[in-house]
Amino acid sequence: MNSNPSIIGTSPKRVDAREKVTGSARYGQDLRMDGMLFARVKHAEYPHARIRSIKTARAKRLKGVAAVVTAADIPGNPAFGAIIIDNQPIAGDKVRYLGDAVAVVAAETEAIAERAVDLIEVKYEELPGVFDPREALKPDAPRIHEKGNLIVHHKTRKGDVGVGFGEADRIIERSYSTQRVEHAYIETEVVVAYLDPDGTLVIKGSHQNLFNIRSAVAGVLGLPLSKVRIIQASLGGSFGGKDDCMAVLGCRAGLLSLKTARPIMLSNSREDSLVESYKRHPYFLDYKVGVKDDGTITAMEINIVADGGAYASMTQFVTWRSVVHATGPYRVPHVKTDIYGAYTNNTYTGAFRGFGSPQITFAYESLMDEIAGELGMDPLQFRLKNVLRDNDVTATGQKLDHTVSVGEALEVTTRAAGWDEKRKKFPEENAGRIMKRGIGLACSYRGVALGAEGVDATGAIVRIHSDGSVDLTTGLSEMGQGLKTIFSQIVAAELGLPIEKIQYRETDTSTITDGGPTVASRSTIIGGSAVRKAAIAAREKLGAAAAEKLGAPPAKIIASDEKIMVKGDPVRAVSFREAATMALDAGMNLSSFAWHVSPPIWWNEEEGRGDAYFTYVYGCQIAEVEVDPETGRVNVLEVWAAHDVGKAINPETVRGQICGGVATAIGYGLLEEVEMVDGVTKTMNLDEYLIPTAMDVGKIHAIILENEDKYGPYGAKCVAEPTAELCAAAIANAVCHATGKRIRDLPLNLERIVLGHKLVKKKRRVR
């Protein structure tokens, strides 16, 4: 039995469109419940200190205060963590950054809770802090966690770099650095925790990864997983950012709800969010490359240190993605890469759209331009000479058995942007003008989905009702990317229904098995595959039920145009609704659950090699900029962004991902930095943490490349993250083309372009 997938590759109206343009979508902060209390957090007053005592009596006595909890009230594990269990929702003996909580208050109003927080007295013994990951790894550094400050060391090894450097005509060494940045979702983190009458603790809120949060809350509060239910409210942006920090909020609010038996709302102010929630890792990157005079790369040796902040969070996985991809999409016969993640007393760092790739892409793509410059080659030609092609072997020793399209992406993008002409023309024209034009490119490859981080599997439930309407449930999250629409399209395609017939149910851990997090750009390829399987299974039941009436074998029956019909004979048909009723009357189960597991991969951590991901995507972005060399202002005029997504199930949402990813990367390249001095956050709100406005983003040309992948639904792979990993490097290369200045540290803000160094801020204590 077949489907009618004409809706695949089209862009129907988003299924969440109306609620979002009329203001009726309900986000976490819109939730209200009878008897609800409001919680506020007493934060640490030192970035590194031992807690000597906490006095909460005065706070508890304040009228309107319902409860004050400290670590002593936690019934379960003191900490949680996806990989290393070190993140303490309420600190017990020690605080490790200024975002740590020492106590949490619930009161009738937020104002009362805030006053109560001020009445809590905490005595500390201040400990020396460490704020630079390179310092943290020295033997005499203050120890932040008992096992020391090294969170992880990953490596890749291929060939023998000694041999590779020996074959080189030139050795080029460069160092780069990237800054700490904030997701800056416009909605800050929020939860409402309440107890169902059956004793289930429900936590509804701005969750990205519901099952991670459930594990954390259950562990910390000492509850079975079945007694914790996480429900997602409409999510006001996440970009990787509403994971661990939501677990923290869930534990705190959940504890207060257990204590008071009342609903608790805990929402972070923007200031709380900037101090408390995790950021993108700052990296320090040293590259050494051997290259022949003809432009052939012979070896790369890479050393990277990442600032993990106070807790490990995703540092192990973020740095693993970096170590796999650190050479960029190039044929490098000899590779030696080491990456270290270190604890510091800074705000902890974790997942942020890109997940360890924006940092390395900035470094290796800046470097590729620098090498091309040394060799006197055009950056495009130099890359085309070295990029991975079909059946090439990556830095981790993986042979690529799919269409390797980085070369195609380079060619398509440079053609669209008028590369050859502009590379030649701009320097000539710049001689006579103040504002300098430049054009720069960056390309990358990216492993799709979780790779060897762990089991990559997820489920979907399709339920056909007697009237022919359909419910779809998965454990994955809509964050704005369009997941509900794409999944609904897949079901509509397989069942031959208009998309309006499909209802995507809100994501709720009590409705489906743990299908992993909505991360790693895995939703379409892993989740979409599960949805498709579930829809096909449901359709086959309908086909079986209708086969007898239609007088045709099930294999000859298709679902199309809201009918179940005999293929090639549309007169022999019953309506979808009739078929559903028939099947139900025949006692059939029209609910199907499907599970999809990713194809096998392997990784040898000891030897630093393996087939890290089952497939890869490729992309190229070009930035055309205008630089005012006197003020340092960089105007990004146009960006061409080509991404091979396998198959664009919904081209408009693909374009949306590309435009959004580019804008985020423009902010990363030019504006953004969470400034911390000795553990103190200086950029406390959106007046100082500057993300791009509409005036700061130029014209974006989204170019969709489609080389279908055997592992993806309809050939689809992914798009979300690769879009955000390229543009900062492309801008840096364009600025260099315009001005001749090579800037190796992000962001390329005004001072840096004019003076060549960053602003040195005065120390100021804010808390």
């Binding site: 340092g632 504006l671 406005t693 005036m695 003076l755 100021r764």
Partner: protein
């Protein structure tokens, strides 16, 4: 943040209330800075006196070659005003760059002055326009030249019993030119790292007189007297402009703070001046 609220029905009533001497009273106009300061707990007023109903404090008028702005005129009104575009261009340019459209719709020119932030964008423009500020109390009215109005970061000479009611300045004449230029980290919704405003009288290509003011470089907006003196009597030849920019950067002596460094600000103060002058040459 608990406070009381009073709304003045007339200027007389407002001045009466101010004369009561309640030190915890703060005046509420557009609220775009005041409410942020309250949220940040930088101030905790006992009473807010809402003056938005005072018609006497509204309106843009010209008479006898002078322009009068009521203190409650919003940045948005100024930015869109035809008369001001013709006769007070630096002010129009500065108000058009304040915050966002929503902030400009609410934020008032009077509020921008009494907040006395060195990065308040309207201030350098009013310096070079030679503005005067009218402060009224129950006991009378005094008129203060704008350069005498500010005494430090977020400090000015206004007394607690006084209300800033209007700003007046001479309309620019046919030989007068002016500009306001600012640099922020991003292109909108950005507080100035540095700003430069100038008004000059040009006759037969020669600078007859010039006033230059620099924003966000010090504790108050600063004039650049040496640069002004240098330019007076000269034509705006390229080498003159280059020297003026150098002098201006030299006398800026800007501070380093969260938004920029002194070195960068100094250089930009001169550069923005040069860029403005080049357009007039």
């Amino acid at each position: 943040m608990k406070f009381n609220y009073r709304r003045a029905g007339s200027l007389k009533e407002a001045l009466e209330i101010l004369s009561e001497g309640d030190e915890s009273l703060k005046i509420l106009a557009g609220g775009t800075d005041l409410l942020v300061m309250i949220q940040d707990k930088l101030i905790s007023p006992g009473v807010l006196l809402d003056i938005n109903g005072l018609e006497e404090l509204k309106g843009i008028e010209e008479s006898n070659g002078r322009i009068r702005l009521g203190a409650l005129v919003s940045h948005g009104q100024i930015a869109a005003d035809k008369l001001l575009r013709e006769k007070a261009l630096p002010l129009v340019e500065s108000c058009g760059e304040v915050g966002s459209p929503q902030i400009r719709n609410r934020g008032t020119i009077g509020g921008n002055l009494v907040m006395a932030s060195p990065s308040g964008d309207s201030i350098p423009a009013l310096y070079v326009l030679g503005a005067e500020v009218s402060l009224k109390s129950r006991d009378g009215e005094r008129v203060i030249p704008i350069e005498d109005f500010f005494t430090g970061v977020k400090k000015c000479v206004i007394r607690p019993d006084e209300l800033l009611i209007s700003i007046t300045f001479p309309a620019l004449g046919p030989d007068d030119r002016g500009f306001f230029k600012k640099l922020g980290q991003r292109k909108a919704l950005a507080i100035s790292k540095v700003s430069t405003a100038a008004v000059l009288t040009l006759r037969a290509g020669v600078v007859v007189s010039i006033r230059i003011a620099l924003g966000a470089v010090g504790t108050t907006v600063l004039r650049a007297p040496r640069t002004e003196a240098f330019l007076t009597g000269k034509s705006l030849a390229p080498e003159v402009i280059t020297e003026a920019a150098r002098l201006c950067a030299e006398e800026s002596r800007a501070i380093t703070d969260i938004r920029s460094t002194g070195a960068y600000r100094d250089e930009m103060a001169g550069l923005l001046l040069a860029r403005g002058l080049e357009k007039l040459a």
